[in-house]
């Protein structure tokens, strides 16, 4: 039998198990950064979209993808970053948004539609547009009196 190798769908399924290093409840697929997957007879090429231009997690994401796909499919993997299309926060999947809320991080929405990830109150205020990582802002919930983080809407 001829080894036809993995299909693109196989590779995408394997990518769904690669976590984002800063928000591990999200896979790189849920985060919406997988732009292109190409399977060649002698290797696999993946192109990913940086969430932020200077995201310091990019190198780790690239090496983790290369390592995990390499182990799983036994062929060389290249991972490049591209700005061919801009990553936007609406690329995060429905499952990804639910996982974020579960982890106490509000998924990205326009500030006026923001809700507390803990108690779902809409009585929230933005403390600062800038948070502990480039992609997050700081909010405070007047409902349950908890500060929380939200992914920036970009």
């Amino acid at each position: 039998m001829i080894d036809t190798g993995p299909s693109e769908a196989d590779v995408r399924a394997a990518l769904a198990a690669v976590p984002d290093p800063e928000i591990p409840v999200l896979s790189v697929v849920d985060l919406g950064i997988v732009h292109r997957v190409e399977v060649r007879h002698d290797g696999i090429d993946v192109a990913i979209l940086p969430t932020f231009v200077g995201c310091p997690a990019l190198d780790i994401i690239r090496s983790t993808i290369a390592e995990q796909l390499g182990e799983r499919f036994g062929r060389p993997v290249t991972v490049e970053t591209t700005f061919e299309v801009p990553w936007t926060s609406d690329r995060i999947s429905a499952a990804g948004r639910a996982a974020l809320r579960e982890a106490g991080i509000a998924p990205p929405v326009d500030p006026e539609e923001m809700r507390c990830p803990f108690c779902d109150s809409a009585d929230v205020v933005m403390d600062s547009a800038f948070g502990p990582t480039q992609c997050r802002s700081l909010f405070y919930c007047r409902g349950c009196r908890q500060p929380f983080e939200a992914l920036k809407s970009v």
């Binding site: 940086p50 932020f52 231009v53 200077g54 995201c55 310091p56 490049e80 591209t82 700005f83 061919e84 299309v85 801009p86 990553w87 936007t88 403390d127 600062s128 547009a129 800038f130 948070g131 502990p132 990582t133 480039q134 700081l138 920036k152 970009v154």
Partner: protein, 254 residues
């Protein structure tokens, strides 16, 4: 993978000026890490600086592809006189009002410049610019809020803001220093309009924001051609800081 660099004269000069601007303001503002007037601003300035340095890294990366050099070597291995950032960014950190004034003048100018690059004919730069503009929106929002806040108080905050704007004023327009190969860049469709046009738009916009706040308008640049080559002592000090690690162990990686 990036599309082969077109043989458009001046692309390297354009990329160098864009990258150096982001690099220098990113390093300057990172000096607030740990000592900003309040915790939220400590976080905000650190995050903003990280954005700007990320933008610089991406732009140096494009430049490296055009010239075949190493991006880190371009960023760190030049002498102070070889940097091409705008003189506006050359004033040292100063107090909080100085930082807000400088950020405001720079961010508004950068927004006009990025708009003129957004539909450019070289896809790698146009694509990157599309992404940069989404991030810079947050920067502009942040600095506009602060400018209005300082300007609307009576007393020390406003006085300091005015002192800062007066000190920076003569250099405010240097972000739009004409490029030596501007003609080919405009003809080649990389840059939508000449820098002088962009500067006019920017001044109209800043004037409209400053007049109701009673803030001093920036005078015309005395010698527009020297806007990116005459660096002062504050930059020489900053250069010493940001190259210190690189110079202490050339070629080190980690």
């Amino acid at each position: 993978m990036t599309a082969a660099a077109p043989s458009i004269a001046g692309l390297d000069e354009l990329l160098l000026t864009l990258a150096d601007d982001e690099f220098v303001i990113g390093f300057s503002d990172s000096e607030w890490t740990g000592i900003a007037p309040m915790l939220e601003e400590d976080v905000a300035m650190s995050s903003l600086s990280q954005d700007e340095l990320g933008h610089a890294a991406a732009l140096y990366g494009l430049l490296a592809e055009v010239t075949g050099q190493d991006a880190d070597a371009i960023a760190y291995d030049r002498e102070p006189d070889e940097y091409r950032h705008a003189r506006l960014l050359d004033h040292g950190r100063g107090d909080w009002a100085m930082t807000i004034a400088r950020r405001y003048l720079y961010e508004t100018a950068d927004a006009v410049r990025l708009e003129a690059l957004a539909d450019g004919s070289w896809p790698p730069l146009a694509e990157l610019v599309a992404k940069l503009r989404r991030e810079e929106r947050y920067h502009e929002m942040h600095v506009t809020t602060w400018l209005q806040r300082l300007a609307s108080t009576q007393g020390e905050a406003r006085d300091r803001l005015i002192v800062a704007l007066e000190a920076l004023g003569p250099h405010a327009g240097t972000v739009f220093t004409p490029l030596t190969s501007e003609g080919p860049l405009v003809e080649g469709g990389v840059l939508a309009r000449p820098m002088a046009d962009l500067e006019r738009d920017w001044r109209a916009r800043v004037d409209a924001a400053f007049e109701p706040l009673g803030l001093p308008l920036a005078p015309a640049t005395a010698d527009p051609w020297l806007g990116r080559t005459q660096h002062g002592e504050p930059f020489r000090w900053l250069w010493g800081e940001f190259t210190a690690v690189r110079r202490s162990d050339p070629g080190a990686t980690w």
